[in-house]
């Protein structure tokens, strides 16, 4: 049986890892090399590394840094930030990314997801969708690290990107990011129901119970979390033990 994945997310800004609240108020947390070594030792299911200022600063990802990080990463490694064209996808794969996450350009560059999936295979293309709202309010996709509204609802966007060839959706609630108040189960459920590719729910995790809530409530195959691994004693291992006790399939 396919296991539920618990995926720590590392956000990279100005040469260090950071964590903020609602895509703002960034705090430095640690250097990426040590975080990756620790997660590697702890047998984490998969790691997501997002360079959150590359697109805003109109620069490419730091390929040599990612090359170094990937050398220590004997677990699946998804890398995103600053991906505007298919060649950048290829370069990231070559330096050691297993999958490449595309956020802003998935909306702004027509055909990019399709081209990247055709060239490198759907399995390595992750469509990262950030949105505000959800629940009682309409959800709207934002790009450029949450700065730019698009007027698009995440559900049809997820369907379109899945049709174009995305292999996974990383769905992040901007307003819940870093707030540790729980995932937006409703929007995660709507997106997960609408597509037939794996969906990773992100934004809002503050406890193991929150993971159980979105896994059960939205039926997603994976949960991403960041703050709880940076700012609490909670660990991916602890999360797995908690979820296993409640009958979720996790890798031990």
């Amino acid at each position: 049986m396919l296991k539920t994945r618990i995926m720590p997310v590392l956000l990279f800004k100005e040469m260090t890892l950071v964590k903020g609240r609602a895509f703002d108020a960034w705090r430095r947390v640690e250097v990426p090399q040590s975080a990756i070594r620790v997660f590697n030792m702890r047998g984490v299911d998969e790691l997501v590394f997002l360079d959150i200022t590359a697109t805003l600063e109109e620069r490419l990802p730091d390929f040599s840094l990612i090359d170094d990080l990937a050398d220590d990463c004997f677990m699946p490694f998804t890398v995103g930030g600053g991906v505007r064209d298919v060649d950048t996808v290829g370069r990231l794969l070559e330096v050691g990314a297993d999958k490449v996450a595309i956020n802003t350009a998935a909306v702004e560059v027509p055909g990019l997801i399709a081209d990247a999936a055709n060239r490198y295979g759907s399995q390595c293309i992750v469509a990262a969708i950030d949105y505000r709202g959800g629940g009682d309010r309409p959800a709207e996709v934002f790009v450029r690290a949450g700065h730019q509204p698009t007027g698009i609802d995440p559900v049809p966007l997820a369907c379109r990107l899945a049709d174009e060839g995305a292999g996974e959706i990383l769905l992040t609630s901007i307003e819940r990011d870093g707030m540790m108040m729980g995932y937006d189960v409703d929007t995660a459920a709507s997106v997960n129901e609408a597509v037939n590719i794996p969906v990773i729910a992100a934004g809002g995790c503050g406890s193991y119970q929150h993971m159980a809530d979105v896994l059960a409530g939205a039926q997603v195959g994976a949960v991403a979390a960041s703050s709880i691994f940076h700012f609490s004693e909670m660990t991916p291992r602890g999360a797995k033990n908690y979820l296993a006790e409640r009958g979720f399939p996790v890798r031990q």
Partner: protein
């Protein structure tokens, strides 16, 4: 010293395979040079993406003959990972790559996983069980049904089920490892499967050392 060559022929994360071999206490060279591949003592072919394109690239770089020389004529141990397992088949899947011919070292075809009526999600991404179908030194010290990391939409379906080394229960079940003589293929990524993956890779390299 044994020349372990990881064949680089397309764009995918091949660095990780070299690093994993190092982690197992060996040294591997990344190469796209047909001469180096033809003279190798152990050949590893990783890869992801399209079957047809992979075969085309191998042909264009003169690597098909080099692989044939090393693996078929000299009989050196071969490990194909993910797409590197799929290209062992005689034929790629119809449609996507127009049924283009593969290496043909394992009689069979490549097919897309079928999500079926239960809407099983494709691609198959994440950790899933690898259940040995027969006893093999490849699984020494690997817990039965241990989880390995998968990320793929296509699988190799062997014509002869007895070549299966392992199966995985997803989308109706599929063959996740094959072995025919000196040729081994795994659909999962040992280089990304942490302790169990490194163990399996070390087992392959140890067996390869006996040949």
């Amino acid at each position: 010293m044994r020349r372990i060559v990881v064949v680089r022929f397309g764009i995918s994360n091949v660095d990780s395979v070299v690093r994993a071999v190092e982690e197992c206490g060996h040294f591997a060279t990344l190469s796209e040079d047909p001469e180096a591949v033809a003279a190798a003592d152990v050949v590893i072919v990783p890869g992801q993406g399209s079957f047809g394109e992979a075969m085309e690239r191998l042909a264009r770089r003169g690597l098909l003959d080099a692989l044939d020389e090393a693996v078929r004529r000299r009989g050196v141990p071969f490990l194909g990972i993910c797409l590197g397992m799929q290209i062992l088949a005689a034929t790629g899947e119809e449609g996507r790559s127009g049924g283009s011919p593969g290496l043909g070292w394992v009689d069979g075809r490549v097919r897309r996983l079928d999500g079926g009526a239960e809407r099983v999600r494709i691609p198959h991404v994440g950790w899933n069980e690898v259940v040995p179908a027969r006893v093999s030194p490849l699984f020494d010290g690997v817990a039965e049904g241990a989880d390995f990391y998968f990320v793929h939409s296509y699988v190799l379906e062997p014509a002869d089920p007895t070549v299966a080394l392992a199966t995985t229960p997803y989308a109706g079940g599929f063959v996740s490892a094959v072995q025919v003589d000196n040729v081994t293929g795994v659909q999962f990524h040992p280089e990304k499967s942490q302790a169990m993956g490194l163990r399996l890779l070390a087992n392959f390299l140890k067996e390869a050392g006996r040949c």
